[in-house]
Amino acid sequence: MPRDDGIGASVRRKEDFRFVTGQGSYTDDLNRQGQTYAAFVRSPHAHATLNSVNTSAAAAMDGVVAIFTGQDLLDAEVNGLPCGWQVHSKDGEPMVEPAHPALAQGKVRYVGDAVAVVIAETLGQARAAAEAVEVDYGVLPAVGNMTAAKSGKAQLFEEAPNNQCYDWELGDEAEIDAAMAKAAHVVELPLVNNRLIANPIEPRVAIGDYDTATGEHTLFTTSQNPHVIRLLMGAFVLGLPEHKLRVVAPDVGGGFGTKIFHYAEEAIVTWAAAKVRRPIKWTSDRSEAFMTDAHGRDHETVAKLGLDADGEFLALKVQTDANMGAYLSTFAPAVPTYLYATLLAGQYTTPLVYANVRAWFTNTVPVDAYRGAGRPEATYVIERIVEEAARQIGMDPADLRAKNFISPDAFPYQTPVALEYDSGNYAGTLEMAKQAINYDGFAARQAASKAAGKLRGIGFSAYIEACGIAPSAVVGSLGARAGLYEVANVRVHPTGSVTMHTGTHSHGQGHETTFAQVIAERLGVPIENVDVVHGDTNNIPFGMGTYGSRSLAVGGSALAKALDKVEAKAKKIAAHLMEASDTDVEFKDGQFTIAGTDKSVAFGDVALTAYVPHNFPHDELEPGLEEQAFYDPANFTFPAGCHIAEVEIDPETGTVTLANFVAADDFGNIVNPMIVEGQVHGGIAQGVGQALLEGCVYDEDGQLVTGSYMDYAMPRADNLPNFTVDTQVTPCPHNPLGVKGCGEAGAIAAPAAVMNAVTGALRAAGVTKPIDMPATPSKVWAALHAS
């Protein structure tokens, strides 16, 4: 009988008791002895020279401890924020990589750019003094979007004369154009992938502390990857060695990518705490979060798909402009290139794919990874144009997809855009999704809607993602400035309970449960005897953190390797106790046995022997039972599946109602189906949010129009129907658990499915002009009204 707390069981999340009873320990819950508070002076202008920053009146105000400006950082030789990925343009030149000072120097480049920091005894005093800092801005013309950036209306950096960061390509353009010229059908589609604000429920917080006795700096921060922050901030910004810099990311209330990056506030509170010899806390308020958290997406694309007369895909050509914002955030250059264009083959056998991506600086907050990061943008391009092609050539969209799918026996499959897919069965998930939504019944449902004065549409999204990020050698060759392995340490205690330390980080994903299930299954210990620890560089060996659906595929693989070592050593101890050879020892359900005998030793007895080694093979083994493993993946993993959305539109108001949504996903093996289902639900909600509700708007002058929930529409429960989600299992062949990752699938697949449904419904009403996300009522009404 399978364990009720092992792999495959929907174990209730161990962490939820503290979360739902309000006992989580988030960064803002922490308070240090003698703590002060930081408030930032932020630019109200999108682009201006800093003529002067006068802090004298503010410095004299009640409670003010210190005020620092960009000049102070320059004087103290504090470096700017580093970028973790270098992309080269097609002419071989490296991207333009301007300095990104933690406090503005000479110029401000977006609304919210930090000019100075005030540290005071109370938050109120800090804010009051921040308002009293006198800044003389020389307001400059600003470019609030990519069209303006290209126009040359303003120039952000001397070294980027046309505001271009890079002009990158993948594939052979001449070859693509030749193939396109021979195609029976060429479908062209302009697409905008709307700019999003991540909006985790917990805003960013950073507390800097300095121990004068030991010289140790500590940063408590809302991060998805504390070791990465230690590396970036310690080695590049502040010049602090690892052994004197501790970074702690305790409970974190959602990240969605925007808490991957190293932010200025982290470096400033860490540096300033040592200057003022007091701990410093900074807590972002929600308005600050809208203005200063890195945003996501923001692509403008023209895609062209060439098909032969029978509907076989011949070539895909994609021209994309990507907004970097005012500075390069940690992973920004990689998102529209190596995390995007390499996925443009999708689930299809398209033999030729070419992408040209141009990245632009604008007077907006930096743009970087947001749930899916590049892969939602790729899926949106492929799945919108495939649907459009089906409509234009008059083929059923499911049939057109199935005709072009990579077949299940073609794996491993080398795509034309660098990746080698490991396993998959795309026809399987398409069929599951069609069944789940009753595709055959759509025509009748559409007729019923029509009779009620409504428009109905259905849309597919057969997505693929590259997860399990990432093989270090591969990403290193592509410009990554770090490795992307993972680390696990398994500490078996003398009585057989287990503490596991992981370099991944849980900020909603449920690692404390999922990883514990893997350990319970493997060692035969009850799950309540297993604790999973993450988030503190002082007690985790190392780690690259959590993003790119990597935690189980990479961190779980490191755990499996560490468990292999634990089992190997435990077998030797058991063999000694049973006076047998360790090669004869079998281990199952927490018992070591010798085949063909009635000898057995429990795991707990082996653990005790390891720590009370009276009867122990000292000549062969060291006492103790603790093992550690680093795991560098052999390949990415390739979760894939098919989502289908069905919408109903009220033509009188333009309101789009999501009538039904089904998901058939292949995540490989699944450890906790309940957690996976939750991840899929959350991802779909965010994807539907992007399609129907969310859209960050800067005006022409770079002012943030959607600076609060009054104007930025988040998806809510009543925007969503009940989802039908199911999974197919095609195990990952190259990692020990056979897992692929599930965290981003919903956000990757849903936008294209919803927009294919919306455009399908509109087409039935005669609207053929493309409509961009978010498909708000006013936009849909205007499209209908114009037709």
């Binding site: 308005s287 129009v705 009054m710 104007d711 708000t776 205007a782």
Partner: protein, 264 residues
């Protein structure tokens, strides 16, 4: 927020005296607009005088063909009042669609009406039902109350004590919400009253207004089709990233028809 003196009023007269005695005092009802404004440091009153809990300003009574609602009655109380539902069900529909449960349990009718946010729901009901706004000094006809965006006929320091809504023959409120804030992009309150049909529009303009052409058409024939062919001018209507003036003008027609249909 900036520091201020918090004062809890013991009575309406006490509240008026406390505001009058402060350097720059402001009344607080439910605080659903004031508190976010304070938190964003967009207002710096010397004193906040809290009238939200005043017993004299609570409660609902139905008598003599009118529904009287104390100004500090919360939206949730109105939404769940059997008395209001029995007399003017459209009012419970309106109240139950304001904000979210937290807002409805704090926000008050009087606070909403006194603030006169152009996208608030209650001005539609006050105007649509021809209500009377009763203050600590006088009675003001609903038609005279809303004078402009965030402006009303209230004098400095004048406190709404209750609002009297005449019970109509039929009434309905239909709202098209802003997808982000869920305030009204357009809300239309239609009532068939002893004095004729009233159609009040909120959300679309600087302040709530009556659609007189629609009223005339509905007086002749109280059915959705009576509104066919009546187009509302987009001139002067609000426009923002969520809705153009033309879209709002169009929605007034759609919401009005749906409100008439909902009257049954």
């Amino acid at each position: 927020m900036y520091e201020f003196n918090y004062q809890k009023a013991g009575s309406v007269a006490d509240a008026a005296a406390k505001v009058a005695g402060a350097d720059d005092g402001t009344l607080m009802a439910g605080g659903m607009t004031l508190i976010p404004t304070l938190k964003q440091r967009l207002a710096m009153p010397s004193d906040v005088v809290d009238i939200g809990q005043l017993a004299d300003l609570q409660g609902i009574s139905v008598a003599g063909g009118k529904v009287s609602i104390g100004s500090m009655t919360t939206h949730d109380t109105v939404a769940n009042s059997a008395d209001v539902k029995g007399a003017i069900p459209a009012l419970t529909v309106l109240a139950s669609g304001i904000g979210d449960p937290m807002v409805r349990n704090r926000g008050t009718m009087g606070g909403s009406v006194a603030n006169n946010d152009p996208a608030a729901d209650y001005p539609g009901a006050v105007l649509g039902l021809g209500a009377t706004v009763v203050t600590d000094k006088r009675e003001i006809a609903g038609d005279d109350f809303f004078t402009g965006m965030f402006e009303t006929a209230l004098d400095e320091g004048e406190i709404i004590t209750r609002i009297d809504f005449p019970v109509p023959t039929k009434a309905a409120y239909t709202k098209f919400p802003n997808p982000a804030s869920r305030y009204a992009i357009v809300g239309v309150f239609v009532a068939q009253t002893a004095d004729g049909v009233r159609v009040a529009v909120t959300g679309a303009g600087g302040t709530a207004f009556r659609a007189t052409e629609m009223e005339a058409a509905l007086n002749a024939n109280f059915s959705p089709s009576a509104l066919d062919g009546i187009s509302v001018s987009a001139d002067g209507l609000n426009k923002d990233i969520h809705a153009s003036a033309e879209y709002r003008a169009h929605l007034i027609g759609v919401m009005a028809k749906r409100a008439v249909a909902a009257c049954g």
